[in-house]
């Protein structure tokens, strides 16, 4: 009998909250063998293999179908594919891992409160500096899609893989696209969120891959897991 592979975040708060959520739904997830290993199972569901995978790689694994199901943030899913709704089944929002992907500019830009204002400020900026304003982000695709949907194209992306909030004060970018929960880190770094600058309100999701090999039996296991998560308090 083939097994269903379920990918769970391999570390940090996301892993803990996922395990707690399963427990509240009546499913005990535990590691197999060494505590530092990356394989596990669910008690009472022998047809499930649990794979502990870094949350950013879970999206890629679901996209390719190398795992059947996974838990990860919607931000990471939408960043790694433009057509997530056709490639994946969204089986439920899990109520943790909240993060808003937002556009933030220096708080002292009193004349910029919207994407429209940003557009108006871009051309004078280019005249003064000889280049478009730079946007530091790790969400390159989300940023590009969001700005394209607003008809805004006068910017340059600079990839930032950490400490994105600091790029404005260090002078490597003029604005950023990053995740925030309370906005506190942004404020502490002299930034403000644009009024219409919320790209995505993200949280952890239970997902299934359309590219994975499904059998009627595996679909029953999938539905069992989805029901357990749904009724978890």
């Amino acid at each position: 009998m083939s097994k269903l592979t379920l990918a769970i975040p391999s570390k940090g708060r996301l892993m803990e909250q996922t395990t707690e959520m399963f427990a509240r739904g009546g499913l005990t997830v535990s590691k197999v063998g060494h505590a530092r290993g990356y394989r596990g199972g669910i008690q009472g569901l022998p047809g499930v293999d649990v794979a502990y995978v870094s949350s950013s790689e879970i999206a890629a694994a679901l996209k390719s179908g190398s795992v059947h199901m996974g838990i990860t943030g919607e931000d990471l899913v939408r960043e790694s594919m433009s057509d997530a709704d056709t490639r994946l089944q969204f089986l439920g929002k899990l109520g943790f891992g909240y993060a808003d992907v937002v556009v933030a500019v220096p708080a002292w830009w009193l004349d910029v409160a919207t994407i429209g204002d940003l557009e108006a400020a871009s051309l004078p900026f280019r005249r003064a500096h000889g280049r478009w304003p730079r946007v530091a982000t790790k969400y390159i695709n989300l940023t590009r899609r969001f700005f394209a949907s607003k008809g805004f194209g006068d910017y340059r992306i600079v990839e930032s893989l950490g400490a994105t909030e600091g790029t404005c004060s260090s002078g490597t970018a003029e604005l950023i696209v990053d995740i925030t929960t309370t906005g506190e880190t942004l404020r502490a770094n002299g930034l403000k969120i644009l009024d219409d600058g919320v790209i995505l309100k993200s949280e952890a999701n239970l997902l299934a891959s359309n590219a994975a090999a499904w059998t009627p039996e595996l679909e029953r296991v999938r539905d069992r897991i989805a029901r357990a998560m749904e009724k978890a308090p």
């Binding site: 830009w109 009193l110 004349d111 557009e119 004078p124 194209g153 910017y155 404005c168 002299g190």
Partner: protein
């Protein structure tokens, strides 16, 4: 994508020789700009939207490079590298590959790898005469290769600016409308804003009261004092002076009389002008006859251009004008043209070009240099000719 058939290669090579012979005989020096180019020049000139159409990559040293999406910017860089003074006049021609990402599987008229044959004329001081000569030479090369039934589509961003000049409005509004011209939605929104409520900005009254009209330095000091009082730190590369300039514009708009409806209609009607080049000239004449600024320079420029095209041997009944044309080609500054051929849709011109006086500066020269040029999409030309639709 299928490998290029041997026969296709031979035909393209033979066709390129015909095109290049026409160019070199007209005094254009054959050059071969680098295929791999620094990505930032393209991204800075055209904006982030270009990245979606360009093969951008990082080399082992971390430099961001790209496969050239066209040969115009590479030709500008070659010109700068070869000449101590970028304003030196030079005429180049080239034939070589360019690369553009195609979202679906590449078809015959939209291959992701294609060859451009083109000409550039840098540092010319003849203005519209050089533009007419460029168009005429591109058409001559197309005809030498066997194309007969072409139509020429032209647009003119200079003419748009002349129309704005014919309407009485503050210079900052003209600048803003010119900037927004590239984005039809933003343009309409800006025009509407100027005719209804030009100064509807929601900024603190305390700050606006502290501005000194006409004095950027004084205003910057006032803004700095306001920020200090609020405990807001100035971070990043944008300067307080830049914001002062912008806020002074905003303040001026607050007390400005909205643009009158008649002028707004004139601008809007101009943007919609489309048709044969001769007919469009008459339409523009009628539009401007009623304007405050009179017909003036705008129409003279248009008529002079048509006369130059006719002098260069181009039958005007095959020339079409559209005021909107060129809106999606951000680096052009004046004339824009495309050559359409039978059997190809409007999005697939067989050749195109125009004037781009700001491009050499953007490519690194630090000064504006007059530049006009055009290029032929050689795969499209061959496909039209081999289908016998020419």
């Amino acid at each position: 994508m299928a490998a290029e058939p041997t026969q296709q290669f031979a035909l393209l090579e033979a066709q390129a020789q015909v095109l290049m012979t026409v160019f070199t005989k007209a005094g254009h020096e054959a050059v071969a700009p680098a295929i791999i180019q620094p990505a930032n020049v393209f991204l800075d000139v055209i904006g982030e939207s270009l990245r979606a159409r360009t093969y951008v990559f990082t080399d082992p040293d971390g430099a961001e490079l790209c496969l050239r999406p066209d040969l115009t910017v590479p030709a500008c860089r070659l010109h700068i590298a070869r000449n101590g003074d970028p304003a030196t006049s030079a005429k180049y021609c080239y034939n070589g590959p360019a690369f553009r990402f195609q979202p679906q599987d590449a078809d015959e008229t939209h291959p992701r790898e294609f060859r451009q044959a083109g000409i550039e004329c840098f540092g010319d001081t003849q203005g519209e005469r050089a533009e007419a000569e460029t168009i005429a030479l591109i058409l001559k090369a197309l005809e030498a290769a066997g194309l007969k039934n072409w139509t020429l589509q032209i647009g003119d961003l200079g003419l748009f600016r002349s129309v704005l000049n014919a309407v009485q409005m503050p210079e900052r509004w003209q600048k803003r409308l010119s900037d927004a011209f590239w984005r039809p939605d933003a343009f309409r929104a800006e025009l509407k804003r100027l005719t209804t409520a030009p100064g509807a900005a929601a900024l603190p009254a305390e700050l606006m009261a502290a501005l000194t009209p006409g004095d950027v330095a004084q205003t910057a000091n006032a803004i700095q004092a306001y920020l200090d009082a609020k405990g807001i730190e100035v971070i990043g590369t944008r300067t307080v002076e830049e914001m002062a300039e912008h806020l002074l514009d905003v303040a001026a708009d607050l007390s400005a009389t909205p643009l009158d409806a008649k002028s707004a209609r004139l601008i809007d009607s101009y943007v919609r002008v489309k048709g044969t080049a001769l007919g469009a000239g008459q339409t523009i004449g009628k539009l401007l006859a009623g304007s405050k600024g009179g017909t003036g320079a705008a129409l003279d420029t248009y008529d002079r251009r048509l006369a130059l095209l006719a002098n260069a041997g181009i039958p005007l009944d095959r020339v079409r004008f559209s005021a909107e044309f060129g809106r999606n080609l951000e680096y052009y500054t004046g004339l824009v043209f495309e050559v359409q051929a039978p059997g190809l849709d409007a999005d697939s011109p067989v050749a195109g070009g125009g004037r781009y006086d700001g491009l050499i500066r953007a490519a690194g020269a630090g000064v504006d240099v007059p530049a006009v040029g055009g290029a032929i999409h050689t795969e499209r030309l061959l496909s039209v000719l081999s289908r016998g639709a020419a």
